[in-house]
Symmetry: C2
DNA sequence: GTACCCCGTTCAATCGTTTGAATCTGAGGC
DNA sequence: GCCTCAGATTCAAACGATTGAACGGGGTAC
């Protein structure tokens, strides 16, 4: 392996550059940081910049952090990298972080003994701020969050305890799905909801029932079934739903992974999608277009969610309230899983 | 939002703890770091530990990093979070990092203007070592890597330039796939390979042709088609393959995303899988089991790959050669996409 | 000629931790 | 009663950057 330009030699510091340029290190520091209050002769500046380039000076970030109490790193903690929804949130967050002069790093809870331990590792002085996505924080996690000296906020979830979050208008997404099914002529519409404890599931359920009654449609309790946000959860829920006396002709599934399970189950029951049953879901991930039939989904601005989260984290004082609900740029992406009645 | 135990007050430092315990800060530092050479009276240790707990002392990691030139952070750079293969690599790497007393953070190139810029941001003093997964590094990236003072190594890819990498035995994975198809009675077997520039694609192709000739089977050039590691790439390649005079009865696809595209394309051509054509691929991601028909795959130890990469990064001197090939724990996972001829 | 001011630069303290070396304190040996 | 010595603790010098304050020198005003 080859090494740096001056392999073996000691790290180049401000002092080295200052000596090479024949000035004090204070000057060099101010040049490096583009201090607007610095008064400097053009030729001196040139000398300093030449010395910086010549020696290949890179500031020592630990020293800078020690002095300024800033690291330039923002952290994002997610429950699991295999959930494709997070890929888009991360992309948006990374872009926003970089354009604000920071770096975003992502960690999942899988590494540590517990999610709480990971928060501890990451939160304690390694980052300037923390974004937390995914499941509800346990009381243990909550305690750790409270003990951190850095700002943090929740992404894609609300929590009674904290008034700092950025979420999507999940109710709207559900309403759009129902809207679509109604336009196709469906009236016997069911909903496979997420777990009652999940914030997004609650809001999608609310949106679903609102939209139904707006269209004068009834939703008997048997038409609303709860299932985990997983393939198995969806399959199980679909089985239950289809065993009822009056089968629905369309289903809005709260989550894309569950929707894939629903497709499997319907196929196993000998039902054709969309011939016998139309299926629509929320979150337009790659997975949705890969399955057969390709899923009709409601696409929500996940990248934007990540970006807004970063900006809110940076722009608002740590104690300020942040309650942001993104409701623009929702699109119904029609594919093969829905058809007119 | 609630704050730390002593919100508003200044950060607790070693000096504060030392004062509270009535000792010098040097003692506290050695207690915190469990210095084995420390001679200390039990009652003093108790006093120190009580003071630490009482004041809620947390070491300042920037100061520690400045002094020790270590950050306790390892970085992993991947091209794209939406590729499900990386989820497992990350999981393995995170676990290994934490059990060695470090934290692993992951970043993708999507955030920065260029992948090279990201390497620069992350590599320069923020992490103790860097793992690089994914596509081949550009010459620009290579130059930045060379200028870093920290150790790095490639994950899941080789490179002529660098003798530091950890990879899987991709050839073996291809051989196992062929083996499986041969056992099912297939002889007309085709291969959809990845791009020629991709290291893993090359090795899988080699494994494929080796296994074929071992079984006395011929592979005319028309039976080997190149396609991107994407769904579209797979679909395109499948279309080309099926337009040839003698259609194969089985296909080994080098990549799981491409394999999904192949399924789509075959279905569009009115061919049944596995009725008319069997399909087997490499990498057992969640996606593989979600599509219909569920894909038969070769599962490789991706978590182990991530873990070994971390351990190699930590355990070998930065200039030492690391050429690790993982070949154990490969499994053929049979699902619905392959059947006897 | 002296006082003053401003431009350009240097001084020096500080951030909090680590760690080799120095110091102190009794107890024991003679 | 003095020396030694080990055990327990303190001293102090780094690590490299940031930043408010001080400084020096040349020009201008009077």
């Amino acid at each position: 392996m080859t090494r740096g330009p001056r392999a073996g030699t000691k790290r180049v510091t401000l002092v080295d550059v200052a000596a090479a340029a024949g000035v004090d290190k204070a000057i060099v520091s101010r040049v490096v940081n583009r201090d607007p209050t610095l008064l400097i002769r053009p030729e001196t500046r040139v000398r300093v910049e030449a010395a910086i380039a010549e020696l290949g000076y890179r500031p020592n970030l630990s020293a800078r952090s020690l002095r300024t109490a800033k690291t330039g790193i923002l952290g994002l903690v997610i429950p699991d990298f295999s959930n494709p929804v997070y890929a888009q949130i991360i992309a948006g967050a990374e872009t926003a972080a970089v354009s604000s002069g920071n770096v975003l790093v992502t960690g999942s809870a899988t590494g540590a003994a517990s999610p709480a331990a990971y928060l501890d590792l990451l939160g304690n002085g390694r980052v300037d701020g923390l974004l937390i996505a995914g499941g509800a924080p346990s009381t243990q996690e909550q305690r750790i969050l409270d003990s951190l000296d850095i700002p943090w906020l929740l992404v894609n979830r609300r929590d009674r305890k904290s008034r700092r979050y950025v979420i999507l208008d999940d109710a709207k997404s559900a309403r759009m799905a129902v809207e679509h099914l109604v336009e196709l002529g469906h009236t016997e519409i069911a909903h496979i909801a997420g777990p009652k404890t999940t914030d997004t599931a609650q809001r999608r359920l609310t949106g679903f029932t609102e939209a139904m009654s707006e269209h004068g449609l009834r939703t008997p309790a048997s038409r609303i079934v709860v299932g985990e946000y997983t393939m198995d959860g969806g399959a199980e829920a679909a089985a239950k739903l289809m065993s009822s006396r009056r089968r629905p002709t369309a289903i809005y599934v709260a989550n894309v992974a569950a929707a894939v399970g629903v497709l499997h189950q319907l196929s196993a029951l000998g039902l054709s999608v969309p011939g016998d049953v139309s299926v629509v879901t929320t979150h337009d991930t790659e997975l949705a277009s890969h399955v057969m039939p390709a899923l009709t989904t409601v696409r929500m601005p996940l990248r934007e969610l990540g970006a807004r989260a970063v900006r809110s984290l940076l722009d608002t004082p740590p104690d300020a309230q942040v309650e942001l609900l993104l409701a623009d740029d929702f699109t119904l992406v029609q594919r093969e899983s829905t058809a007119p009645l």
